[in-house]
Every structure is written in C-alpha cells, then in structure tokens.
Symmetry: C2
Subunit: 167 residues, 2 copies
DNA sequence: CCCAGATATCTTGACGTCAAGATAGTTTCG
DNA sequence: CGAAACTATCTTGACGTCAAGATATCTGGG
C-alpha cells in the first residue's frame, strides 16, 4: 500500500521524538514545514557549489539574475532590485557596492529622476550570471533526479498552493 | 483539465521572464526549488510571529526544542545540540551563552568527560518552549489550511523523496 | 606508561543582514 | 507658487553566523 518505503529520514525521527514528548499535538504540519526549511538549507549549499566555477556567491547571483532576466538593457533601479530579491535597502546598497568593485555591475544616474540611480549589468556581469545559471539548472536537475516529470509538476503545484496564504 | 486555476504567482512570472531571456533552458526545476526557497523565507517570518508571545527568536526555539524533545532530563551536550540544529560550534557557544543569560538553559559539567559540558533546560525554558511549540503548530496548521489531509501527506512524501539525494 | 592523534568546547575576527534614520529630490494641492 | 507629504537611496550601529584556530582532555598503540 505504501509503495517502496525508503526508511525513516531525519524529519521522521524528529516527529517521532516530538510525538513521544507531546502526544497531545497533531504533528502533521511539521512533516511538511520542517522538510521545507531543511531543503532550503541544503539547497543553499548546493547553489554555493554550483556557483564556484564563476566564483560568485548566492547573494551575488540573486542580484545579477534579477538584472539578467529583466532583459535588455539589463538595467534596474536599486528599489526594483530590492523588491525582486526581498532584502532591505541597506543590504542592497552594500551588494551593489561590492558587485561594482568586482566590475559585474555599474551605477549610472537615472535621467528621469535625480534622486534615482540605475544599476546595469556589465559584459563581465552578463557572462558570469549566464554561466552561473547554466550550472544552477544542471545542479537542480540532478537534485530532482528521482522524481518523474509528473511528480515534479505535482510538487510544484502543491508548493504553489501552499504559498498562496502567505502572500 | 487544470482544475481551479488561481492565476500566476511570483514564481510563474519569474519563470516566464527567464523563458523569454533563456529559451534554451528547461526551467522545470526552478518551479520547484524557487518555491522552496521562498517558502522557507516566508515560513521564517511566520515562526517569528508565532513566537512573539513567548518573546523568543527562531534560533532560540531551535535550541530549546532540541533539548525538549530529547525528553527528561532535558540535557544534551553542545556537540549534540550543534548536530541537531546544523550550526557551527562558535554559533552554539554563543547561543548557549545568551539562553543562559535569559535563564532558559544552564550549563553543568559532564561527569564522565572533563572536556565536556551538559546543557539543560530550566523550568522557565521548558515553559517557554512548550508554549512556543503550541503556537507554532497552530500557525502551521493555519498555513496548511487549503490543503486536504491527503494533499498534505502527498506533499510531505514528495519532499521526503526530494531530500534523499541531498543527504 | 607515554605520546600522537582525536575529540569537545570556546575564542576571535570578518562578513552579510537588518532596522532605523539621514539626505536629497519629487509630487500634490491649497 | 510654496509647504507638506512622499519617495529613492544611502549611512550607521547592532546582531547572529561562520571559518579557523586555541585550549583542554581523552584514547589507543607501542
């Protein structure tokens, strides 16, 4: 009935331990959310590895990728970037500074708003982000290895529904 | 065929943007992993909210919870704690110090190993973690609201399979 | 018994992030 | 037109984390 059982994982053990200690609680939610947290952590490590060839960090990729997928001319304001990447303005200032030092992006004044700035991908930045994204997709495809296409779609759909109330 | 479509979410838009820019790539994996990263982030915020009543932070909960689910006498070594919580030793020293200052845990020498220390939950620590876990379970059940029990199980099972290659 | 290597914990210094606030420029509307 | 409210970006200071290494103790082979 249960298909090819592949034994208890860390989270199963964690839930069993809680069940022993707090038999009064329904731990169903933990089986989902605990796995999501752990997966995010493991995924972050996998991304780090995928980016070693381009010598960029996940936070650098996040910014470069936002510029890259915006399309030509690969320019966005710091405000757009922080909304895309879900970080605060102080963090974004810092990131742009350091990416600028590495020659991957450059600031220019916004011609329509003198308060504003536009951040653009340099040629080196575009090369770095395209290479990094290739590596990332390869890595992620590996990680999905065991899942069939139908299962992957099912999983993506369930995750999408789970995100809805959190928006 | 597609059931009650609830429109494109952030990730759908992100994938469409990448598709425009990099039509050469198969973006299937992104639909899964990008949602996992985002969910982890949103979940972290939700946990923060759930813990406000006990005035504890997620990192504090992680340590207290490891001690709590270990069962009586609620004592573990720093080494066991760092393996449970996936942080480095320096971080764990820091966490134990601060939880000690707040009176939620206390250090005692390990009677069997003079290098060692045991970290134990105080009565106040146990009250805090039990209250926090109640709130967390409530919050998480809310977040699952839209999913049926069968869907929750399906999701947990798919996530478990996704984690396997990452261990 | 002793020493080399392993183990447990703590210390240090650098890093990336955030929250709060400062500064400069823009918009709205009386 | 001018003042008040708003917006965009940057600055500052505190925080939690990590990697690397220091210190103390334990263990097994010779």
């Amino acid at each position: 009935m249960t298909g090819p059982e592949s034994g208890a994982d860390e989270v199963d053990l964690l839930v069993e331990a809680w069940q022993r200690e707090r038999a009064d609680l329904d731990l169903g939610p933990v089986e989902v959310f605990s796995r999501i947290s752990r997966l995010a952590r493991l995924l972050d490590r996998a991304r780090r590895e995928a980016f070693t060839a381009q010598a960029i960090e996940p936070w650098e990729f996040d910014v470069l990728a936002a510029l890259r997928r915006a399309g030509k001319p690969y320019r966005l304001s710091p405000g757009q970037l922080l909304r895309e990447t879900m970080v605060t303005s102080g963090t974004m200032t810092n990131r742009i500074d350091r990416l600028g030092e590495r020659g991957l992006v450059e600031r220019s004044p916004d011609p329509h708003d003198r308060r504003g700035v536009l951040v653009g991908l340099t040629a080196a930045g575009k090369r770095a982000v395209d290479g990094a994204f290739d590596s990332l997709i390869d890595k992620e495809r590996d990680l999905l290895g065991e899942l069939t296409t139908a299962e992957r779609r099912e999983l993506a759909a369930l995750l999408k529904r789970l995100m809805e109330p959190l928006r």
